[in-house]
């Protein structure tokens, strides 16, 4: 991303988002004040309002950007369904392991979104789910997947994969490549035709 030299907006904006993300993840959206966020960024509380209208807008921006980035970062390759599924699974694991705080907030703070914002976030989430479901449908039509209900299987696979963020620790017993391979193995088998 281009950054104008000496522009406070270009520097403070990202720092503000990082501070908000860190505080929301640690204490929860409802428990964090704009004053605390300002202190974390190192500016006066009043200065925050140059960058964001309110805390709700901060939360919404974090969630929307997370999902838009996720959607922009991956598209199904031109390939048979099994290879598309492998690409989806491996990308999902990598992407989510890189952003545990965002994943946690994007799930946990849904209840704190205004209805209009909630609708936008739900739409983006559904777009992502629809991509996986399309792969499962194609694979079922081709006879390589045996999935009784593609919507349920989509939700089950995404929950299984996203759960990696709740237990994986960098430098732990299993390295990332192994974790990714093991999840792919389970996902593949879970939807495989007999």
């Amino acid at each position: 991303m281009a950054r104008k030299q000496g522009s406070h907006a270009d520097i403070t904006g990202p720092r503000l988002r990082e501070a908000a993300l860190r505080l929301f993840a640690r204490h929860g959206f409802a428990a964090v004040s704009m004053r605390q966020i300002a202190a974390e960024v190192g500016v006066q509380a009043g200065a925050l309002y140059l960058y964001t209208p309110d805390k709700q807008a901060l939360l919404f921006d974090l969630m929307r950007d997370h999902l838009e980035d996720l959607l922009a970062d991956w598209a199904p390759p031109e390939a048979p369904p099994l290879m598309q599924l492998e690409s989806f699974v491996r990308h999902h694991i990598r992407y989510h392991l890189d952003r545990p705080d965002l994943v946690f907030i994007a799930y946990m703070e849904l209840r704190n979104l205004d209805p209009a914002n909630f609708a936008v976030i739900e739409g983006l989430r559904r777009d992502y789910e629809t991509r996986l479901e399309a792969i499962l449908r194609r694979g079922r039509a081709a006879g390589v997947f045996d999935v009784a209900d593609t919507k349920l299987a989509t939700m089950a696979l995404i929950a299984m994969l996203t759960g990696v963020t709740t237990w994986y620790r960098e430098g732990g017993r299993l390295d990332r490549a192994t974790v990714e391979a093991l999840y792919w193995d389970m996902a593949r088998k879970a939807v495989a035709a007999a």
Copy 2:
């Protein structure tokens, strides 16, 4: 449970827990005050302290009782590993669909537990995971499961199954029996030997 007639403690205690659970789930632990909980129960704030030392104790009790109930409610049947796994999966789905608020809080409010309380909750959670892992180990030893890492497979299966609470709605497109059967099908295949 026996209930003494006319005992306020026996009536207010459960109502207090229900109110706390409802409010924590809706607004988050950090955003809810003892005063709000008292108002929800319909008593003076001071009266709450007859039943609980503080908000932290309320949260800890909810989580501990949830996990102790879960552990008390299911034990592996004397059966081959595949039947034990089926029993675990079906019970997990049923139990969690009955308690979406508790499931949400037990995951989301872990960060708000005092360290000593966190250690107790983590221990109970591990006891539950260990039961599933033992089934996977037995099945692998018997050659009916193909699981490269039983710990990872345990976490993956539990995340997949628990995720049902994020999308299932009573009276929706799929009934409970179907949902349970479809999750069991995916779980079975995910760990099956080729």
